[in-house]
Symmetry: C2
Subunit: 333 residues, 2 copies
Amino acid sequence: MDFFVVLSLAFYLKKPLNENIGMKKEDLIECQIRIAPYIHRTPVLTSRLLDKMAGADLFFKCENFQRMGAYKMRGATNAILQLTEEQRDKGVVTHSSGNFAQALSLAAKSLGVKAYIVMPSSAPQVKKNAVEEYGGNIIICEPTLKARRAAAKKIEDEVGATFIHPSNDLQVITGQGTACIELLGEQPGLDFVVAPVGGGGLIAGTGLAAHYFGKDCKVIGAEPFEVDDAYRSLKSGKIELNKTTNTIADGLKTQLGDKNFPLILKYVDSIIRVTEDEIINAMQLVWERMKIIIEPSSAVAFAAVLREKKKFKGKKVGIIISGGNVDLKNLPF
Amino acid sequence: MDFFVVLSLAFYLKKPLNENIGMKKEDLIECQIRIAPYIHRTPVLTSRLLDKMAGADLFFKCENFQRMGAYKMRGATNAILQLTEEQRDKGVVTHSSGNFAQALSLAAKSLGVKAYIVMPSSAPQVKKNAVEEYGGNIIICEPTLKARRAAAKKIEDEVGATFIHPSNDLQVITGQGTACIELLGEQPGLDFVVAPVGGGGLIAGTGLAAHYFGKDCKVIGAEPFEVDDAYRSLKSGKIELNKTTNTIADGLKTQLGDKNFPLILKYVDSIIRVTEDEIINAMQLVWERMKIIIEPSSAVAFAAVLREKKKFKGKKVGIIISGGNVDLKNLPF
């Protein structure tokens, strides 16, 4: 669907977003319009050389060019925009040491809202600096899940800030899905959309978007073998955990949640796992051939397409390039 | 001037390109139309963050997204297209170990012409592989200028191939200028265009283009202190040489020539020199903030803008990002 059709349709729709799995097409359209003034409409790039390599027509939705360098800006913006005036006055809080910490900080700053970011003491200084640069207020805690949650809860209680989960939040999920809506707006005939799976927010939103805006468009998740919790969860039908997190794709170490997992079960066709070498190879190919900087988590999606060439042969394949935030002083090449 | 105006104007113009400094606007327009089917129209990108840093409005003409990863594709394509049928049948020859070797190989391949590339035995294997990948026929010679010239001359004599110089050739110069024509087509009000200076082909073509298509648009060259031959040449009025070539900007080590120097004297306002640290810093800023891969030679132009902030304060500044071919295994960060 064209973006302008989306825009015009929206004037007829005034319903609030459903807080359950029965999310409607209108909810996604409204979200798209709501966040549009605060995000970049990122380009969809192609490469004849990579097409040839993959044996398919690839369309890279470049969220590495998104504000703060990742799709997370979409979900963070939508979540804050859905708060009441009173809630906004008291600020938002999350725990994250990755892109969502930066996204919530920048989205909050853009909207004149205070953001409290709980980060583990083990977080690299470069990530702390980025959050501060975007105006987030950092609260340092012990590097355990328990300590993170406690620190966030304390902020909720003390200043009345609203907790926003990086991936297990329907407003966040819907926001992340808008990247796929835009992609399908430009390429309505996609047979597949492939996205990386970490906490599950992006893949759930992508699933929803493809369901409503695609034409028989299958959504495939991509995951490192080293953190294949989503692959196993889809097999077993319940949320599985990772025992190790030994992957270069640092954005994909988190686990699924009770809000995004039902959507993943319903709208995601399958999950392809890739090795660490395949991730690094895919990342290098995109850097060298497309001249764009993508982070390892994004390379996971392209690696999946290269791994299962038969599945994608001759098809039109959308790939969500989730972000481009890398530490240049610590590259895998 | 808009690209479509250029296109429509072209139907009224049928003159051959002038082989002297009195090159006409029509020559540039014809060149633009001639090469358009064989090159990418690259995007002009902006960054609010880098604008803020520079205190100016910056417009990056991204030739790193050009075919084979550099603007050299433009000049190489134009030079081959200007040959007679008979000349094309016998092929083209050049000596280069850099981007022009790849550009001539790919341009020749696209046009069904044979390309002979003389490379010094010292050229890195990665560069030889790239030339072969694009279909060029490599002739290895001793790593001296004399040996290079002799090897190229031998090919000219033996197979009748036409020699095409990487930068000191009016067809090549005119081709390189088309990047600036496109840039000014999108941003007609530019106060400055800044481009790196190596062999002088790009800066001469850019000077010509700004002269005919800009409105009081000044062209500034950018050069490392370590290889400031063009800076000194502009001061002395004659072609000066480099005594050392100790710079990370490996595309800028070559010297000016008798075809491009008169154009540079006439159309280039001044040359700004930058340190190696400034080049690396500028390169890192573009990689981290814009998420695009640019080579050190391209970073030289942006570094010049950051170095002389007063000069560019509040101005609209075009920057030619000349290319994005870097060895990821050998980065300066």
